[in-house]
Symmetry: C2
Subunit: 138 residues, 2 copies
C-alpha cells in the first residue's frame, strides 16, 4: 500500500463566507491561508487545512483556462471535529460562549473523552474533543 500521512484537507460548506471567517478565524482562531470572494476561505489547523466553500460556486466546473479542479458542493449540515487537549475544553467553552456561540451538547463518551458541540454560522455541527476519544495521544 502506498504511504498515507493523514488528512490534508477537511471541507465544509457555507453560503455566507464572511460569517464563516468570523467563526473559524476570529472565534476559533484559525489562520486564514487564502480566500476567494464568493467561492471559499481556507484556514490552517495543525497538519490539516479546513476548507469552507460556497457550494453554489464550487459546483460549477472550472473554466477552460483554469486548473481542472473537480466540482463538488453539498447542502445541509456537515460535521467537523477539532482536536483539543482535554484540559483545554473548559477554556474552549468559555471562548465559544463568550463569543455568543451556544453550546448545543457537552458530554462524556464511555471511554471518558469529552465532546463539546456547537454550530457554525452555516449550521454545520462543529465538535471540540480530546484525541483520547479515538485513543490518540494529546
Amino acid at each position: 500500500m502506498p504511504t498515507m500521512l493523514g488528512v490534508l484537507e477537511a471541507a465544509l460548506y457555507a453560503d455566507d463566507l464572511d460569517a464563516a471567517r468570523g467563526f473559524y478565524g476570529d472565534v476559533v482562531g484559525l489562520e486564514v491561508i487564502t480566500a476567494k470572494e464568493g467561492r471559499h476561505v481556507f484556514f490552517r489547523c495543525g497538519a490539516t487545512v479546513v476548507l469552507i466553500f460556497r457550494a453554489e460556486a464550487t459546483r460549477e466546473p472550472p473554466p477552460p483556462d483554469a486548473l481542472p479542479v473537480p466540482p463538488h458542493g453539498a447542502e445541509g449540515a456537515g460535521h467537523l471535529c477539532f482536536s483539543v487537549p482535554m484540559a483545554a475544553l473548559d477554556d474552549w467553552v468559555d471562548r465559544l460562549t463568550g463569543a455568543g456561540v451556544a453550546v448545543e451538547s457537552d458530554f462524556r463518551w464511555p471511554n471518558g473523552a469529552r465532546s463539546v458541540y456547537v454550530r457554525d454560522p452555516a449550521g454545520n455541527s462543529v465538535e471540540f474533543a480530546s484525541p483520547k476519544l479515538w485513543d490518540m495521544p494529546e
Copy 2:
C-alpha cells in the same frame, strides 16, 4: 486562545456504507475503527479520523436514552484530501486505477505540488496531494 491541536474528524456522507468501506478500507487501505449498520463507518487516518455517515440516519436526533450527539447530514458531493508524500503519488495512481477507480484530474499547482482527484462510490471528490500544497512538510 485555548490550545488547538488540529482536525480530529473529517466527515463525508454516503448512502451505501458497504461501498464506502470498500473504497476507504480496501482500496485506500484505512483501518476501520468502528461501524454501525445503516448509520456510519469510521476509519483511522494518521492523526485524523475519517467519518462516513449515512445522512438519512444522522439527520435523526438521538433517542432520549442515547448520548446527545447533535444531528447533521449533507446531500451532494463533499470533498476530502489525503496527505501523501509527493514521491508516492504515482503509486497511488496505480493503486486507484488498478482497483477500477478512475482518475478524474491530475495536475500540478503553481507551487509545484501535485493533486490527483478521484470520486468515492458516493460521488464525493477525493484528492491525494502532498502537504507541500499548503507549505507543510511531508
